[in-house]
Subunit: 353 residues, 2 copies
Amino acid sequence: MAKKDVNSEEEVKNKQVILRDYVTGHPKESDFYITTSTIKLQIPPGSNAVLVKNLFLSVDPTMQFRLRTVRHKHLDGYQYYAPGSPINGFGVAKVMDSGDPNFRVGDLVWGTTGWEEYSLIQQPQKLFRIQHTDVPLSFYTGILGMAGITAYSAVYEVCTPKIGDRIFVTAASGAVGQLIGQYCKLMGCYVVGSAGSQEKVDLLKNKLGFDDAFNYKEEPDLDAALKRYFPEGIDICYEQVGGKMLDAVLGNMKVHGCVTLCGMISQYNIAEPENLKNVMQIIVRRLTVKGFSHRDHHHLYPKLLDTVLPYIREKKVVYVEDIAQGLENGPAALIGLFTGRNFGKQVLEVSRE
Amino acid sequence: MAKKDVNSEEEVKNKQVILRDYVTGHPKESDFYITTSTIKLQIPPGSNAVLVKNLFLSVDPTMQFRLRTVRHKHLDGYQYYAPGSPINGFGVAKVMDSGDPNFRVGDLVWGTTGWEEYSLIQQPQKLFRIQHTDVPLSFYTGILGMAGITAYSAVYEVCTPKIGDRIFVTAASGAVGQLIGQYCKLMGCYVVGSAGSQEKVDLLKNKLGFDDAFNYKEEPDLDAALKRYFPEGIDICYEQVGGKMLDAVLGNMKVHGCVTLCGMISQYNIAEPENLKNVMQIIVRRLTVKGFSHRDHHHLYPKLLDTVLPYIREKKVVYVEDIAQGLENGPAALIGLFTGRNFGKQVLEVSRE
């Protein structure tokens, strides 16, 4: 076949990030190891698969669920990791060989791929083909990828604010929070964010256009902090932290307010969830609390591109990435999410082309 | 004035249920006392008030909030009780004198009134005039009153089921639960209820048409109980209990399920709310959790009458009341709600006419 040269029959080295064993408690760098296997740069004969070269990998907090033996059967579509095998996640990749007529050699795609240099993707129908390359390719791991769908659907679909609404965004400098805050500002809201360092607070206030921001680690009383920033209460909270933060939020919502939950990073790695004292405020204040996932909103992707690509090109939205280099640094990048080491969306660059 | 006779100038005896002092912890009968004052059976000159004779009083769990010094500022419209004064709540009454052109002597009304024989109602504009008297008047404390608006709005407005949905109703033999369950049955759903005695379970299964029911006090493991009744999960839960029950519910909802919260009776009288382990399931299962109150749905009352009056007349709905006799028995009736002593909607009959 014309598209394959002789070299594609040869095996090449394929560096991989392997899960050592199932994780309990906090994941650690030593739960992973790096190995180098080999791979043919072509799909098996007759296969519908796609063979890709991975360029950028998305480093996501929810990956921790997949390191464990505890199975959430309702996380449908989740592939749990297997010890001894490479982990996987969302990423940007280039097609090297294809048995799927929708993808051609040289196409750029984003979707689920392996934490390795090359991946054989057995279900290419779930990949998105990247059609706009005037923006950085890494953006398809975030603002134009899964985190982007999460943020877009949160604001435009799950709980849409009105002009003047008073919005609170937690984990506000992270992949999703930074976008939610800016989308709400573009809709004419008053937006306050919380983050875990002064540097992140400065980013929110000085670069991302948040009206105000605070470092939750410097607030001994989160309830008092929220009362200071929202003396009249919060209309909408986009919450991703859980625990004490969610509890303080429930105690500071306006009547008929909405709380969206798309993450709970403070609760992922602890044995017992923190006690919430304010659950009854859901009734007292007649709140709506909505759990959601990007997985229910992939059909919005064309609308997202229509809205967000112009925002990027016209610099109406600032997008902050923290790009780690090389698969060797993948485990540290993943672990760093749970200590807040990342500054903006955490990405892992595997290859520049 | 022609409508007033000479006797109306005289003072008559007025038995009252008085709050002794603010309550902490569980309310007790001794937190109240009965006294007899006097009242003129006419409104003050020039007043817009209405003077009523109370017939039936609604005994509601949420009254406990109003016995305390802890103020929920978001419970707007709530009047907190004052020690030394009669408590109040929803009730059915007959107009004895009126300064409001919308109400005439002899009219039957329902709305907020005092726990006493006669009440001077300063804001009669909030009263509903009773226009259908072919059903028992006490029904206007329940199925056609506040609890009725709660149940109607839960099913027809807050979270409306589809045919075949699998529904779980907690506190299912109570004022609200018994109606919700029957409305869902009329909509073609599979309905299971929980209650606190075998007698109540029998009522649900044999009289109210629930598909199944269980006694939560006999279930050492509520999670296991729900998995038994809902092996495929719950589509909608109408939850009024809170604590362990809510936690078990969150762990047994289907993906995209809805939980409505309009009460949390297990948590009202305890110092620290029970710990919930399954809050993260709101995200994992992408649930919607909606707190609501009848107070936001009074505009639905004409639709409620259009729907529910025929149900009553055609006996499509069974409505179970537990009617205590006389103001002296009011405190015991109120306290009994928190031990589940009531069998159906708790009503207090003050006078038959």
